[in-house]
């Protein structure tokens, strides 16, 4: 057992001190998510699928900001890269599965590339760089017209995405899409869960808690940061891939700086450093506009959401997930 293992042992116990409650939460979630295909109409189900996909993007932010302590204000860019890569790879005649996989890997690599300079800088500076990238992405996409459709955007050829015949879902493509999204997102959740519990996960959290100490313990800080960034970008790219399939028309406007800010806000509101936080964050993204409509005071959900982000820092610094008792992993300085 290395020093790091010993050091983070107590934290591992700490984070897992309410495992039963979390498990109940996951089971409840599974039950809730299995109802819509039976009752919802195609349009509503597609909308729900998109929210499921959004959870994946928020989890990407959560992995980087919540677990690794690297603030990213640019994850909307990775959603965009994934979506546009998917569209172009389909054009090349690749099968959907291969295209999706390749787009995911590609987004991960681009995340690594963009993040390389960021690995040298600390804390706030990464937030700065990623925010700049998020703002520059729109004009950049408009410029690459042949790949991205320029200003108007482009269509994605998702015709091939049909359920296999033995499932008997032939006329219910939306259900098939919903199920696929759920499975893909669930797989990513499992990957992140295992990653967090692995040796690398402990290294990631040690870097978050004290970078200098982590380096002293022999953790290769740049390598671990690069790894976390790549995986985070890749899973966010997968979210883009799924979004391209669900909504076969994508343009630069879908991936503006506000998407990045919303993803970040959702990750914070939901609860940084907990897996369920990503789910809560997206629920907040739905509930807030809904409540806002019901109250009807302010005709702009951004105002309410921004105010919510400010408020939650005071009321529940660990996010909504923290309110439910799993307050182990608050991201510190």
């Amino acid at each position: 057992m290395t020093v790091i293992d010993q050091l983070t042992e107590t934290e591992a116990e700490h984070t897992g001190h309410r495992p039963r409650l979390a498990r109940v939460g996951w089971i409840l979630l599974a039950i809730v998510l299995s109802v819509p295909p039976l009752v919802a109409d195609p349009l509503e189900l597609t909308r729900l699928s998109r929210l499921v996909v959004l959870v994946l993007a928020v989890l990407g932010v959560n992995l980087l900001t919540g677990y690794a302590g690297l603030i990213s204000l640019g994850h909307g860019v990775f959603v965009g890269v994934g979506a546009f890569a998917m569209a172009n790879l389909i054009d090349q005649g690749l099968s959907l599965f291969v295209a999706g996989l390749l787009a995911t890997v590609l987004t991960g690599l681009i995340g690594l590339l963009l993040g390389l300079p960021a690995l040298r800088v600390r804390g706030l500076y990464l937030a700065l760089i990623t925010f700049g990238i998020a703002l520059a992405f729109g004009p950049f996409v408009r410029r690459l017209g042949s790949w991205t459709g320029g200003v108007t955007g482009r269509t994605v050829d998702n015709e091939a995405f049909v359920p296999p015949s033995f499932l008997g879902l032939d006329d219910q493509v939306h259900v098939w899409r919903y199920l696929c999204c759920l499975v893909v997102v669930a797989v990513w959740f499992l990957i992140v869960r295992n990653l967090i519990r692995s040796r690398m996960g402990r290294a990631i959290r040690t870097i978050r808690d004290n970078e200098s100490a982590a380096a002293t313990f022999g953790i290769n800080v740049p390598a671990v940061k690069a790894g976390a960034l790549t995986i985070s970008a890749a899973m966010t790219g997968t979210a883009g891939v799924l979004q391209a399939i669900l909504n076969p028309y994508i343009s630069h406007a879908d991936f503006d700086a506000f998407l990045s800010l919303r993803l970040y806000a959702a990750a914070v509101v939901g609860g940084l450093g907990t897996l369920l936080g990503a789910v809560f964050g997206v629920i907040a993204l739905i509930v807030v506009p809904f409540l806002n409509d019901a109250v009807g005071l302010i005709d702009n959900e951004a105002v309410v959401f921004g105010a919510g982000l400010v408020l939650i820092t005071f009321v529940a610094p660990t996010g909504v997930a923290g309110l439910f008792g799993r307050n182990g992993n608050t991201a510190g300085d």
Binding site: G69, V121, Y125, L135, A257, R262, A302, T313, A331
Partner: protein, 318 residues
């Protein structure tokens, strides 16, 4: 040569705007170690307040009436105000907004993690942007320049036109810097501000009124930021997204100059403005990608000199 000079002059105008917003960011970073991501949006609200103060009720130039002008006509004496006076009003509003945010939002978070403070400024960014959009709509508004801005209002230097607005903006910027310098060097509040910047705990121990000084610091910073949003007028239009782009230029300027150096902010603003004006012509970067050179310069500065050109090198305690 003529073209080169012309591009430099164009860049200088933007440079001054970036510099003033960068000074606001630097002031807050120096005293609290916090990057205020909402600085641009705070400035933008103030800019719209200036617009309300100087516009007569009814349709503005592009046919959309500006919310609040009717209210202002009823309650604000001598409304509509001349542009210069309206800008002073916007600066005062910005100062109040800054003081309010410091007193009621940032101060209770004192001692919390950097992350929660950053989260709050991002929340404020989203909220203030939404608020501006909600109140005044997504339309681009032209903002009259406080300086002579006619077609003949320029000085010809080497064949290139140095516009009065550019000169005016730089004069305002220099006055602000001089005023700020005098304030910091010669007043008791300035002394307190320097003490806090140098060592907060020691300052508190010898009885420096930390809280009051920080509120004043935030107010001044936000006031300077408001100035930047108001002076943008004459060159580009004001719309809810304007200051978001300005913010990234200003952040680039502040980073290049060193986040804790006001002088660096001015030099950085100058560099970013020039880079933005010269890159499209000489590096073949398309105009819509003018965000890239400053961004690249910022990344380069962070990688090579993370503390900037004029910043202090931080010492990290393990």
């Amino acid at each position: 040569m003529e073209l080169f000079l012309q591009r430099c002059f164009d860049g200088m105008f933007n440079g001054a705007i970036y510099a003033s917003l960068a000074i606001a960011i630097v002031m807050i970073f120096r005293s609290t170690g916090l990057l205020n991501f909402a600085q641009g949006e705070m400035a933008m609200m103030s800019g719209y307040i200036a617009l309300v103060l100087l516009s007569a009720p009814g349709a503005t130039g592009i046919g959309f009436s500006l919310n609040g002008t009717g209210w202002a006509e009823q309650w604000v004496p001598f409304h509509p105000w001349p542009t210069g006076v309206a800008i002073v009003g916007a600066v005062l509003f910005g100062g109040l907004l800054g003081a309010f945010i410091e007193r009621f939002i940032m101060r209770p978070l004192d001692g919390k993690s950097t992350l929660s403070q950053v989260n709050v400024t991002i929340g404020l960014l989203i909220m203030l942007n939404g608020l501006t959009l909600w109140i005044w709509g997504p339309f681009a508004r032209s903002f009259p320049s406080p300086f002579p801005n006619g077609i003949d209002d320029f000085v010809s230097i080497g064949g290139a036109r140095l516009r009065y607005t550019t000169i005016g903006v730089w004069i305002v910027l220099l006055v602000v810097i001089a005023g700020l310098g005098a304030l910091v060097q010669n007043t008791k509040t300035g002394l307190a501000f320097r003490a806090i910047t140098s060592n907060r705990e020691s300052a508190a121990l010898v009885g420096v009124p930390i809280r009051r000084t920080l509120t004043v610091g935030w107010a001044i910073a936000a006031g300077i930021g408001a100035l930047s949003a108001s002076l943008v007028g004459g060159a580009i239009v004001l719309e809810p997204l304007t200051m978001m782009k300005m913010l990234i230029y200003a952040l680039a300027a502040a980073t290049i100059g060193g986040l804790d150096s006001p002088l660096g902010a001015v030099v950085g603003g100058f560099i970013v403005g020039l880079a933005q004006a010269l890159a499209p012509g000489y590096l073949g970067i398309p105009t819509e990608l003018t965000l890239l050179p400053p961004l690249g310069a910022m990344v380069l500065a962070l990688v090579l000199r993370p503390h900037g050109l004029f910043g202090t090198v931080p010492v990290n305690r393990v």
